[in-house]
Subunit: 185 residues, 4 copies
């Protein structure tokens, strides 16, 4: 593993633990065992480390969410999408932190935010198709998308809270609640 990867990996871990702003370069340097100048040899900026990390993480995002979606069954599709997203966030805490901070943090340039946004397109298509098939009531698709997304996020937050033990049945309840909200009747 080359120094650049080490820096990225270390930064990933630190940000996951502490958030973006709380993670200083000196910390990254100390933790990664890499020299000061080496970091700047590979990255123009502190921002560039984060940007690169962000790109690495969001690259997966698009494919991961739509993985293993079955052909016809809208309900099954829903469950799997939901769980894909849930597991993605659970396994990629930084991606989760990022996705939570995106809206507000000026650290992430707008261009990147827009790029992330495009991954939602497939989720949007799913809901539009569901409306056409009369499975879902014809709600505004942005609202549906955002609520779907928010539901997953809510449960991930419970999962993250160390004091609470999130069980599979809770997850299934959440999926059920989420699903019922969108239905036609």
């Amino acid at each position: 593993m080359n120094k650049k990867s080490i820096v990225l990996q270390t930064t990933l871990e630190l940000i996951t633990k502490q958030g973006i702003r709380a993670t200083s370069l000196s910390q990254i340097i100390k933790e990664s065992g890499v020299a000061n100048g080496t970091v700047y040899h590979h990255f123009k900026n502190k921002e560039e480390i984060i940007t690169e990390l962000y790109l690495m993480l969001t690259q997966d995002f698009g494919t991961v969410v739509m993985r293993n979606i079955p052909e016809d069954d809208v309900k099954k599709q829903f469950s799997i999408m939901w769980l894909n997203l849930f597991h993605y966030f659970v396994n990629n805490p930084l991606a989760f932190v990022f996705s939570e901070q995106i809206a507000r943090s000026p650290e992430i340039p707008q261009s990147l935010k827009d790029k992330a946004r495009q991954y939602y397109a497939e989720i949007e298509n799913y809901f539009k198709a569901g409306i056409r098939k009369k499975t879902f009531k014809s709600y505004n698709s942005m609202v549906m998308e955002e609520l779907f997304f928010g539901n997953v996020v809510s449960i991930v937050k419970i999962h993250e809270n160390e004091k609470v033990k999130l069980l599979d049945k809770h997850i299934n309840q959440a999926i059920e609640i989420s699903w019922k909200g969108f239905l036609r009747d």
Copy 2:
């Protein structure tokens, strides 16, 4: 308005704009036009400013969410709670920022977080009562609460996004989706 209030107000605005970590004391001092030492005369340290601010905001929280809740009609209660929370966040962006950042920020001591948590108690009671009345299916109350809360947050985020125009009909759709998810059948 005395100096202390000026400092609090300025901090409120800065944090709303930039987040907690991005807001430095020097910025607060510069922006508020108050002297260096004056801030430390009124507050022990930076954390105390934030803590005090947080207490001010969460104090409202409890009462605001349960304001104007009608007696019997569970559905009407739901709508009003939902809108109370929505408007509270829209009108108190800092409260919103806080509630979003609370989970992760080490800046907010756990004791305070717990205190905020207790305001949820009434929401929890509402859901438990709904289950008893057989209006809601008997889901885990923490899950219900968190999803309810998350739904409001999702819509506030849309509202905050400058590029999107959130209409009343969108809000009503969101409430409907939110409500349907919890129902018994």
Copy 3:
């Protein structure tokens, strides 16, 4: 003497010895025995230290050069102006360094350069009057001014060169050469 003055004085000495770019803030801090933050309490910038210093020095400039100029005798006026400028530079090495570096260095903002330029106005007036009185040949006044100035600078440079002993007779020769160049015949 307060810390601010100490910083200014120290910077003055260091720049005189080493030039602007060679003088680092850490050096100023070390040499002046003042804390890092203290410098930044009094000055916004490294640049601001230099600017302030520059203003202090050039303030004298205007009055010094025209000091003790006798009424009518154009030749005597010339000698005294010449010597005033010479001694000013010899006694204010930083002013000399500055006046030499002004033309090129981007460290000095244009606004300051312009301000310094206005002090030349009196020298310009002197030459114009000399032309009117038919003492001087009617050369372009900017050329006269610049050559006059340059002559003084040349001799100051000899004076500064540690290996050479500049005698009064050399100075007088220089004044004579300088004077003769401008004469009518």
Copy 4:
């Protein structure tokens, strides 16, 4: 053009624009498109680049100033020397910058400065001969030399000042002033 020449040329341009101290190796590397290590392959260190550059430039100096000097006419010799020097500086801004910065820059080792100094020998000889021929008054030759040099420099500075349009007649006036100063009567 080989890499070494590219580095020298780039450095030349950067120093001309910004001065010696303001020009960093990283800038040279970035600007010249040459690799980090390549620079150190050709030069021992940063100082060596500057030294080599300096030698290239001053090599010309000696021959250029004395080019096309006619045999007997002392006045014509003066004009041509003056203009040779003027045009040399105008066409070699770096040589000009160097000659201005030499006195103070610790970047240029004394040995080199001395070497440059020897080119002045011919100018010195010219003035000494002029004194012997009773054309010039018997001033100290170092003073004469320095004033002659300084006069050219003053006019080059006017020429460099973007805000002023230097005309041929100004140059001729300057030569005349310069010449008259040294004359016997």
